[in-house]
Symmetry: C2
Subunit: 321 residues, 2 copies
Amino acid sequence: MHIIWNRYPDIKLELEAIIDLMDENAKCKDKIIENSIKELVHANGKMIRPAFTIIAAHFGDYESEKVRALSAVVELFHMATLVHDDVIDDAKLRRGRETIQSKYGKEYAVYIGDYLFCICFKILAQTASLQSIQMDSRAMSRICLGEIEQLNSRFDTDVSLKNYLRRIAGKTAELFSLSLYIGAAESGCNMRLSKRFHRIGHHVGMAFQIIDDILDYKGDEKTVGKDQGKDIREGVYNLPLIYALEKKPQDLINLLEKEAYEDADVEQIIQLVKNYEGIEKAQNLAKKYTDKAYKEIHKLPDNPYKEILLEIVTMLLERSY
Amino acid sequence: MHIIWNRYPDIKLELEAIIDLMDENAKCKDKIIENSIKELVHANGKMIRPAFTIIAAHFGDYESEKVRALSAVVELFHMATLVHDDVIDDAKLRRGRETIQSKYGKEYAVYIGDYLFCICFKILAQTASLQSIQMDSRAMSRICLGEIEQLNSRFDTDVSLKNYLRRIAGKTAELFSLSLYIGAAESGCNMRLSKRFHRIGHHVGMAFQIIDDILDYKGDEKTVGKDQGKDIREGVYNLPLIYALEKKPQDLINLLEKEAYEDADVEQIIQLVKNYEGIEKAQNLAKKYTDKAYKEIHKLPDNPYKEILLEIVTMLLERSY
């Protein structure tokens, strides 16, 4: 269990139960399958999304069994997308551990991801209302669309701000929204409150992803385990670069249009993005989303979990940027 | 629309409506995504699975809209697995057309498969009962497990008959069972009848896959578009080979354990499988499943669609083997 939860023993207990539930659902005659899923479950991820579901559920009638199942779905879906992302990125490591695709092969990783999707729906069908299954499946489609959109816009120097925002709204913010919304809605919160949680998830997710994308330009391998310039190398042009491109600077465009990027090119791209104030502008936009999130959180009804949500969001969004 | 349906105009009309429904669900702001899904939808597949759903539904209260949605789910799920199978197999062609992964890249194919899974559940959640969503998600998990089991047993000369049967029960028969079962159950057929349809699907699926696997040893590229020895080359040891291995023939084992298979090796493996009566025995087992399927179909209540099911199953299982 990640250390961030030590301060919140109630949430920690629930998250531990969710890990047990995921282990339970990983059970399988084929021990290779079972163990590879358990490795993911125990990879010490932060489990922010299931924690969000728990927190939102506390604003309604908290039914532990149901909340755990819904939280497990959100986390398993997140895992499935990570497994497939690692296939796409040919990633060797994730959270400091060898990825499924590196350890067992790409073929295996494709099917394990599929299997995780199926487990999600199996748990959902056993637990949630038809309405929530509809919400879930729509959200999951949008997440996939976000991933595809990112893929289709690679190496495109004309990529628009609108495209970027839509893409991260899909691939990141949607799952944060779903986590909070489903916790509230399935605990009997009214539609008004559930939708507020949905909006909070959106703002938090947008800020979170923008901050994560900024880190690609700041190099912070020690603290966040992210290689500098990784996205650029893969042709994923993120917010700082998009802002830098707004004035059509020919030096930057020429570099980006090169056939292959050498290390020196990547360094120069990063430097130019800084010069053209791409990072600064991106930080401002992240700040705007962060503020929107805080504003919506403050409007939540009084509840001990309101303060907790505020603390966790602060911790998440006040990373070094 | 495949020509086999010309004899059954009612089914053909429904299948055309299902194609329209799939097109409808493919709609997307991103035209690349929309078009690549539409290409799959219009690839002229036989659409056996949705036809099964339609046929079984005619044994209950036939609600056209519901049946079409359920049929579309079954076919879209089938497509999703094909798209991911092609990624695994690095396949260039499917039904004579360029595969998604060959045309748009593996990355894209992984996400398009994921997106198709999500669309399946989106349609299901809008249409089916919670019970059917549960049936569906369990069946889909088993299909993925079948695929993974096949992957994990590659190049294993100790692979057992039991392993093979479990693997094809998962990757093939399960979806045939689901197609028939869900059509019946969601049209108000009683459990006894719905389960009979489930068994019919199982027997048909098992026979179908065994026959398909035999073709790998007979070479029938003109009639079925399948390369001789393709499975062997990929280390997928199917029923004829498993039967041939039963008496532990050292010549065959030595060949199989070679580092890489040359064309001559594959030819020799096929010849040895024939000599050791692998094909004959596999044909006998396919015949057993076919007979079981017929027997169960005969037990269905009187209904014009009983004869149609019998004809279609006959056409499917009396392929040249």
